[in-house]
Amino acid sequence: MTQTLVDFDEALTRYEPVMGLEIHVELNTASKMFCGCATEFGADPNTQVCPVCLGLPGSLPVVNAKAVESAIRMGLALNCEIAEWCRFARKNYFYPDMPKNFQTSQYDEPIAFNGWLDVEVDGETYRIEIERAHMEEDTGKSLHVGGSTGRIHGADYSLLDYNRAGIPLIEIVTKTIEVPGDKAPAVARAYVNQVRDLMLALGVSDARMDQGSLRADVNLSLRPVGTTAFGTRSETKNVNSFRSVERAVRYEISRHAGILDAGGSVLQETRHFHEADGSTSAGREKSDADDYRYFPEPDLAPVAPSREWVEELRGTLPEPPTERRKRLQTEWGFTDLEMRDTIGAGALELVVATVEAGAAPASAKKWWLGELARRAKEDGVELDAMPITAVQVAELQGLIEAGRINDKIARQVIDGVLAGEGSPEAVVVGRGLEVVSDEGALSAAVDAAIAANPDVAQKVRDGKAAAAGALIGSVMKDMHGQADAGRVRELILEKLS
């Protein structure tokens, strides 16, 4: 089936998007939601399983207290109300990613509900309303064998690893998000980004999108501009990076517009997102097969967090992200634009850590938003996935301030750190990059440059200080860049005064 895509901007002249975002957060508890199995990522298949998470007859699940605590803290951080009494429910379905033939989840009694989170895009604040955050368990991992695509369709058979089955999961569901269409992709991205920051600040999850410990589903529908009824939505599953969230929203807006323009109707279906070209493709059509026959889980006692416990947990919350950003901006003396650029580049936490490691905020920002951002882009990785730490960036800046290297040499030091040659100090020593602070050697190089460029030297003597640049360049070249350009300039001007 050919897909007619309407240009994003053109689509927005006729339609407005309505979004809903679902985020699954895997908690970083030591044990699973209902049993004591380990939760380590990347373990050998089926080595972190037991009768409970395999759903063997006679086994009895028991709720992990730490997971409930994390769920309540997340709920509070998302400005939710916390249920006084709630139950788990069985979500029944026939799909082998759960060996029990049901997933233990929560149905109409989520532990947290009615919350909100403010996100900032281009200096504007958008309030995202949270419908609910509920506790459930993750599913096993399927490996589809045979067929051509590795996707479900066309597979001959599937292989199941249940290590992940039963790991505590919190699903955060927004209410419908109605923001100006041109902002929708960025708002979706900013929301997922902010939820991730919040999870990290709470310390409840590794929140690694690349490892699937934070996964986003993007629900989207269009309606003609000026109307209020919702259109039919598609659900794009498991979008695995911030950038992909943004792209998935853009693509679905273009795709839906194409269907609606042609007088067609959008199918209510799940979609798969493709990183390679930013497109989505049809997954499963929603049908009466989605009758999950939820019912209260009889094997688990209801959860009734006392108000004392909830308030005690409220006391453990980190500073809310918005207030924290305001505080940091003041402390750092950043302009609104500088702060926005820092957040937009995904560098906020990196700058925080670099400042904590001793660098000045402006210097920390300079490296992360400049040279390092450029290289991350070249390599197609997120900034925080670069093989250089905040402590190393602070150390690099320290070497410059101590006059041991200059800005230009610093870039070679970054090469070395990224290549795995060790800390900036180790790279400077290993590569012999230290600037020449030997005055005698510098003075000799300056004399040589003056002798080799008599015309330029004369101009400087005649008072044209700007002409000294050519001489500085000559000296720096002679010293293979390993000289303090400021000191070289001083020497030249002294000698030619």
């Binding site: 030591a30 044990s31 298949p45 972190q48 992990n64 599937s158």
Partner: protein, 101 residues
């Protein structure tokens, strides 16, 4: 179908589909009648419960039964797979998924 039926033939077919059980026409009729009898029997409960009685999912009023977040040794992969009809690469082998689509 009698006036007092608790379940329709279509509902039986729907539940059978959800449970991925293939039933013949004759079996559908037969099961509808059986299920109807069972539901009729259970209906007696409704006569002793008034509208104010809340539905009860748990027989004992106990809440907050938690365990500490500690690791407990589970099964080895061999033990886990021992009951599987088929396995490959230390994983459970299952028939193709969504073959019905």
């Amino acid at each position: 179908m009698s006036e007092s039926s608790q379940i329709t033939r279509e509902e039986v077919a729907h539940v059978a589909h959800l449970a991925r059980i293939e039933l013949t026409e004759a079996e559908l009729d037969h099961l509808r009648s059986d299920l109807d009898a069972i539901l009729e029997h259970v209906k007696v409960v409704q006569s002793v419960v008034d509208a104010d009685t809340p539905a009860m999912s748990h027989p004992i009023p106990v809440t907050n039964v938690f365990r500490l977040d500690l690791n407990v040794a589970g099964l080895t992969a061999d033990e886990a797979l021992a009951g599987a009809p088929e396995s490959e690469e230390q994983r459970f082998l299952v028939p193709r998924i969504l073959g019905e689509d």
